[in-house]
Subunit: 330 residues, 2 copies
């Protein structure tokens, strides 16, 4: 089965389609963070999106395109949690049943978010079970539609609306971004943003942020072909544990990404603390990866430039968050 | 000395004057919070303003009106911390020296914010010293201008720009606010917002939120005349400890406020936790008072209505914040 690759026009269409379903998240600035990073940082706080992450954008764009007569059978999705919450919220809005496969070690706050929107949750073991197979079985049983979390043109286009907004907000501030850093897992968000910037800000270089030991995008971009992570690699960034770039997102990345930065758990925790202190926003580990890269990983020749980062999500369990803020995690 | 009362036109002028110096803070929504409160809640996250509170607005409006030839002598301000940070930031931007009187028990995060912007900090004892007298002495010595934290027409007008933005954002969402709840201390913000809504949304009722044992506005509004707090009353809301309504803010409140709600420390802590969990924003105790009132204090006849609240600041010491999130404070 071949997938059509999404385009800048798909992102524009998605922007029109979903604008009444998502909020325009603010772009924050902090002199304290600029000083630490040595750059002019513009921070898109997508953690303030409803459901606590950007995933609402792609889910809305995808589900709105399911014909009304096909909606009653519902949707099936698998996700570590943020896509799950996006799908659950949009399904509720559109009156569709939803069943979500979540790994048994998903953060409780994400499971609770899905349940609060009335979706059904089925747990699976991240290491021993295939979520794709379980999803296909469930979809067959129910006649439901599987909504992938990133490897889908309309999901990518929906996430890209975050980039459209960001470009507009930066333009309104009479600036232009030299660089944009966004975390990469499946690559739906950063891929969609790259498409948006290709149309709206073609001189902006796009960089992936990844956990340092889960750096499939960085190694794939260097090699010019997909290089999966070793099985079983771990990171505190529960939202960034996809094994390799997708068949739709990889060609976008290969064409548009300039490279990537690997961040350690310790850098992610420090970025979460600094976001709390200086930006007053709550960011989950994966959501802080791009900020960590901007603060701690940039080479000298980037200093002084204008850099955009996306804080992609804020769904962190309170126990972990208080440990991080109290400095008990590093 | 008589003070001119600020008007709706002053707020409009302030909006034009300061628009390039402040960010338009987002209005957030949460289905989970709507469910708890039984209302349609629209939450203006002013804690995301630069310096972590709305105070940047009034400080900018006031200092921009100091003639350039008078700026070199600098300014003197007294504040528990948020006004201090607003003044320090604007002074730095305008190249003015600033000295700030802060109570010796001010949160360290607020002191650090002032120092980071290069202002000088002088501590005083909240219970035994008069900050007004110390400020006047310093101003005389240096020929500097005292910038009050709330009892000043241009400060009130500047804070009111938060209300202008809020009204515009609500209108864009095709809604209208039945009620607006904002914390009241000196009354500069809520007073300015009331002026803005008088012009932009005259059917919105404006309510004050206050610590339950520091409820000078509530008692004053009931009595129809100023009723100060008893000396020495305490609250965890360090930003809301002004003793009585000001000579400029009181007539605004007496005319435009419908009444108020007293909130307990426990309600404030729970509102801080819920803002973290469901809105992904960091709110200081005083900044959470209005949300606490909306969640826990509304009478039955308000249920089902559309209510705006302002989260006014996010400058909370990390130790206290982690204690609150961990449930060690109630």
């Amino acid at each position: 089965m071949t997938h059509p690759l999404p385009t800048f026009e798909d992102v524009l269409e998605a922007g029109n389609r979903i604008q009444n379903y998502v909020i325009e998240t603010p772009v924050l600035q902090s002199e304290a963070l600029n000083k630490i990073a040595g750059i002019d940082l513009h921070i898109k706080a997508e953690c303030l999106q409803e459901t606590g992450s950007f995933k609402l954008r792609g889910a809305t764009n995808r589900l709105l395109q399911i014909p009304i007569e096909d909606r009653s059978a519902g949707v099936v999705a698998y996700s570590s949690g943020n896509h799950a919450q996006g799908i659950a919220r949009v399904s509720k809005r559109l009156g569709m049943p939803a069943i979500i496969l979540m790994p048994s070690d998903a953060p409780q706050v994400k499971v609770d978010g899905v349940l609060a929107d009335g979706a059904e949750v089925r747990h699976y073991d991240r290491n021993s079970e295939s979520r794709e197979e379980i999803a296909e079985e469930l979809a067959r049983e129910r006649g439901a539609i599987i909504v992938p979390s990133y490897n889908d043109a309309m999901i990518v286009a929906g996430q890209g609306t975050c980039g459209l907004e960001f470009a507009k907000q930066i333009e309104l501030a009479d600036k232009s971004l030299d660089h944009l850093i966004c975390c990469a897992s499946g690559g739906g968000l950063i891929g969609g943003i790259a498409l948006a910037l290709e149309g709206k800000s073609p001189n902006t270089k796009v960089w992936a942020a990844e956990p340092v030991e889960h750096d499939d995008w960085i190694r794939s971009l260097e090699a010019g072909e997909i290089r999966p992570n070793a099985p079983g690699t771990r990171s505190v960034c529960d939202a960034l544990l996809i094994q390799e770039p997708g068949s739709i997102t990889w060609p976008i990345g290969a064409r548009f990404f300039s490279g990537g930065y690997g961040v350690t758990d310790a850098q992610v925790f420090e970025a979460m603390r600094l976001a709390c202190r200086h930006l007053k926003v709550v960011v989950e580990p994966g959501g802080a990866a791009a900020l960590a890269a901007a603060l701690f990983c940039l080479p000298e020749n980037v200093k002084g430039s204008t850099v955009g980062v996306v804080l992609t999500g804020g769904n962190v369990d309170m126990d972990l968050y208080t440990d991080v803020l109290a400095g008990r995690k590093d």
